[in-house]
Assembly symmetry: C3
Homo-oligomer: 265 residues x 3
């Protein structure tokens, strides 16, 4: 490929030099790379938010893209650095759940590798910043055409995080809020399949925290009047609760991680 894409997702913020250090390493190994920031505004140590944001963006990138995700409270401990091959792309990061949602959504065969080959890392691997010393150079070598199997041996599975779980009862489904976006939209881990399961059509009956709401299932925000709440299946395929030109999470008192129950309307 002429211009391989490497994406970055982290909780580093944009004030410190850390993101630039990763880009420096990537461009040193693969000067033709186009590096795209998915987000560095992940809440510190919030693996769930990172997993959601990456899973949301990844399907829009072309085949051959290498995705790096570094939200890594266990840096320097025994958690494994991994590469996942899925949907014609590579996902690079620690095995702590941060890659799990993107991998689960990918179509076709999936292969897992444990990164152990120091030949593809920086000469000095620090104890504090594997994003720069391990994941960035590995990603750049993958972008250069190195095969995942050269990085380490294939493994059979990766850690599955709890935040991806959905429980189905009799016409009831229990999930959780995986993200509150910058507009205040409340994104759940439930989708069209779960709406069908409870038989929701024009109206969605949903419990968020301690309150239950009956909301119109809309196609777009402006389908209700300004400042009115609504439900819709967002462009990422997840059910979200929004307020037209308002901040749903604040107005409904909802936070990331809250339980969500979907009832038969």
């Amino acid at each position: 490929m002429a211009f391989p894409i490497v994406t970055l997702t982290s909780d580093f913020g944009l004030n410190d030099p850390y993101v630039a250090e990763m880009k420096a390493v990537i461009l040193g190994v693969c000067p033709r790379a186009t590096v795209v920031d998915v987000s560095h505004g992940i809440e510190k140590f919030n693996v769930r938010m990172a997993a959601y944001v990456l899973a949301s963006a990844a399907p829009y990138f072309p085949r051959g893209t290498v995705h790096v995700a570094v939200v890594d409270p266990g840096v320097g401990t025994r958690r494994r650095p991994i590469v996942v091959q899925a949907a014609g792309c590579c996902f690079v990061g620690p095995d702590n759940g941060v890659l799990a949602l993107a991998v689960r959504n990918a179509r076709g065969p999936v292969r897992f590798y444990r990164i152990t080959n120091r030949e593809f890392m920086l000469p000095n691997v620090s104890g504090t910043f594997h994003g720069r010393d391990v994941f960035a150079p590995v990603a750049a070598h993958l972008a250069n055409g190195v095969r995942a199997a050269e990085l380490g041996r294939q493994i059979s599975r990766i850690r599955t995080p709890g935040f991806a779980e959905v429980t189905r009862g009799k016409r009831v489904v229990v999930g959780e809020v995986v993200h509150v976006d910058d507009f205040g939209n409340v994104v759940t881990n439930l989708g069209r399949e779960e709406l069908r399961w409870v038989g929701a059509r024009a109206v969605v009956k949903i419990r968020l925290g301690s309150a239950t709401h009956e909301l119109r299932l809309c196609r777009t925000y402006a389908d209700v009047e300004r400042s009115r709440p609504l439900a819709l299946v967002g462009s990422h395929g997840f059910l979200e609760v929004s307020v037209n030109q308002g901040h749903a999470a604040n107005e409904l008192g909802v936070r990331s991680g809250d339980r969500v129950v979907l009832y038969r309307p």
Copy 2:
């Protein structure tokens, strides 16, 4: 052109996956593109701020640049998606005023097109995110050399927003604050022409909100002592009120949208 430039201006912030999704779509259609963020820190739904920020940055980009602006409270409603050809560049976005200041400042002939050809959009256009599904792929196709006329029919005009208006009286001019920048500089929609109209030279007499100030018209911030207010024509050509190494907007109690009156000094 070897490396076509596509710029992005939005109110999406940098925490969520939305900006990355737009870049993914652009690079999928036009892998050679250099994507430049103008700003994703536009205040939510603040079309005026987006229009100002884009108009300020656009003149510095080379010919052939494609500018995309998405501040779009009406997404999914009947507001038109448009392309404007001006000054050898293309401007892509909703017809809600967000492109108006950049287009007004452009020299030479201007042409307007309504985007209707679905061939240049994503296969599934959501009701909530035309930035990714319509504007990003359209921009990337323009960067690839597609002509604006292929996107839809030419139209005669676009919406003119109220925030661009300046009223001239007898040696008095009324405008407004179009932007307060991160340093606290208060940027108005008045320029050198309006200063000439009221006869301002070394001193500017200006009403901001409820207070009237007589300020020295300077060439640079350090022309006055630290913490002192001053007026100058900023590098974008607009009259601004600043405080040397201070935050003019907070100290003078001024906000974006406030009325500005310029008097004969």
Copy 3:
């Protein structure tokens, strides 16, 4: 070089059009350039923070990179615009200390030039934004292969800022906090050499502000229990004080600029 890298460090923030204007100018002069943001989240006018952040990131970039740093409270005054050649790279910015730490850390010969040749600036140099009108075009011309000597005459030295100073006593060293990062890590201007000087090995005895701490010298954050403080030499080579998964600066009441004293443990 195929794809020259130009990096940017500033206190402009990401909301305003200023960073995009610099990138526009760079890409206009050198369309092949890859522009990398080091940080635009430098505290306004905080030359020390900018100097630290640039010095931290610069060593990871490949030879030939052009680094631009613009934290410039004296813009438009007589402070000199300079270019420094060091370690196979160029550093461009005002002579106010912002380049000093990166240059001090660089190996090999160092040359200083004063930028005076207007041929490599924008045709109109404003009094308020030399980042765009002087430093960006100069950097892009350097990326294009222009030699530093063409920009202006060589000079013998640049300004040395006070914030880089370390004082050594009898088994005691006095330095300062140069940065508090987004995770709350407290970064000092002391390193391995100063630890050796005071004879610190497993334990570091350190005064931060008004309190003295005896901290375990660790290899990584997780070497102590969650919420416990520790000392380590960060990946940039500087001694830092951290709290495992906590915010050291808030918990210990430390701010950038605070005095740091290292004692014999």
